[in-house]
Symmetry: C2
Subunit: 363 residues, 2 copies
Amino acid sequence: MNSVTQRQSATSRPKALINDLFLRACKREDVERTPAWFMRQAGRYLPEYRQVREKVDFLTLCKTPDLAAEVTVQPVDILGVDAAIIFSDILVVPEAMGMELIVEEGKGGPRFPAPIRSREEIDKLVVPDPYSKLKFVLEAIKAARQNLNNKVPLIGFAGSPWTLAAYMVEGKGSKDFRFAKELAFSSPKDAHTLLDKLASAVAAYLNAQIEAGAQAIQIFDTWGGLLGQEEFEEFSLRYLKQVLSLLRTNGAPVITFCKDCGQSLEKIADTGADVVGLDWKTDIRKARDMVGSYVALQGNLDPVMLFATPERIEKAVRTILEKFGKGNGHVFNLGHGILPDTPVENVKVFINAVKKFSVQYHV
Amino acid sequence: MNSVTQRQSATSRPKALINDLFLRACKREDVERTPAWFMRQAGRYLPEYRQVREKVDFLTLCKTPDLAAEVTVQPVDILGVDAAIIFSDILVVPEAMGMELIVEEGKGGPRFPAPIRSREEIDKLVVPDPYSKLKFVLEAIKAARQNLNNKVPLIGFAGSPWTLAAYMVEGKGSKDFRFAKELAFSSPKDAHTLLDKLASAVAAYLNAQIEAGAQAIQIFDTWGGLLGQEEFEEFSLRYLKQVLSLLRTNGAPVITFCKDCGQSLEKIADTGADVVGLDWKTDIRKARDMVGSYVALQGNLDPVMLFATPERIEKAVRTILEKFGKGNGHVFNLGHGILPDTPVENVKVFINAVKKFSVQYHV
């Protein structure tokens, strides 16, 4: 993406964008301070989100553009984050491919009652046209852009092919994803067919999001870290690259976030993404030393730190800023999604600490 | 441990031990083939184990030396592994320190109904005398040694201070161990008091196991991988070292197994343990390059691989042998405990493949 984004960066930032710190940091350009947003920032920890959710269930919220746009903008207004991320779920893609998806909150997360376990079932999956099957996301993006009114950029997202495949084959979240890995280990040809199909679906979906107004893209590889390093390259990274090669970013930066994959950092940074997201277990100083000359880094406060005292939260923010050090190419974030019980007051401490203490690293 | 074990290795191996491949590999001495055992090898995947468990519940099995010894020896007789590991649970130590422990199978694993959340509760915990409070484990070790009749060595074990603290503070297994980490983050002084107490308890317990007949020791740090690298050093590694410094090994090799800590490999190898256990996400070739000149390595087949076809299992075993390469200092193991539903036939394929294909790396 790097060459493309450099060429087109002038067109990708509407002059009207009031706060473009996030986009500049993604491209390792000068910023006055480090921008911050965080994963699952539109979510259950916010009373304002829970109020909306009282009216509709989770999937209905995803599929009602006005409501999805409303909760997307909440953390910008309430917390002052430097980017919004469209409210949605990575599993709407497998649903659009033909799988029944059930989300019953408090019952162990989303699940597919008929998981994919055979070649026949893989062949039945369709690569969906995002403009019909996932139109609700595109509409939500348009509505969110309108609500944001150019305050901050809007991030679109999708799950990585491997992470989607893991859920589709397993049928639900799992500690070991034994069925998904069994498919990869024992029937690699079938696994590759499924992953190839998913790469096409994800790329088309992300391209449609960009066209609808997403100003950056994040790809979540939540389950890449379940694989050994060689299997990670074969079943996850290869299809991340395939997605990236199919993107028409029009200057929108691309972020990859592979959880628990710190040992493959250099390989992840070589995919061509602009930004590499780090979980909290990777040392951001070591990461910058390794790959910071050619990608920006995003992260990486431990989400559990937001349960600590305000002083401890500030100290942890300062530690990460100090580890990254002076200069450009850092987007502050959590190292994973915020936990639902996190106190909002602590989240404010976190965001304000980034804003306050990062200035000295950008003089 | 290294200097001690070298000095005393002659006394640590009774001449009568028929198969001492495991002990030799732990000390990076010559072996004819790579030895193999695996974590949770005495467990639910074995029909013979389930037969014993029909009669008694899990904790009763742990506390009935004859039965614990019986299931300890089963995988040696049935699968031909090169070491036995005493059947027990790491949570018997917190129980001996005064906590109520409940294990109801199929109900989300073991739990402490009254978790440790205050300084007062930490102060109430006692460092137990293993000869009274954990006598059942010592008796089981003696009985297992008798049953083993010097066929293969017997491994004793304990949880690391951090891993025990994580369970004790959280009260049960958890995805994020928010309460345990909150204690470490917000009340580090209290966390250190608890961890220091646990280090004393674990060291005394392991010394008693060695005295009772354990011929090697493994310390499980199952939850070290939940921490960022600096926090891992402060709250986990420091107390692993403290335990090691208090051990009177009498020549018994010491294995550390820190799950999801591959990014801290060099620090783990510097603790003074003889063997470093690897999960399946660390490349054993890279690990050997980094630390193989001063520690042996144990691992690291993905436990999910045992659901694959026999051919795939054999291929995976050969890949790991080839990655480690020729020479000494490799104990074959899984990268984490075996999963309860694993087919026994596949486990046999795995063990036999190690035995068959490793010979060529030891000529």
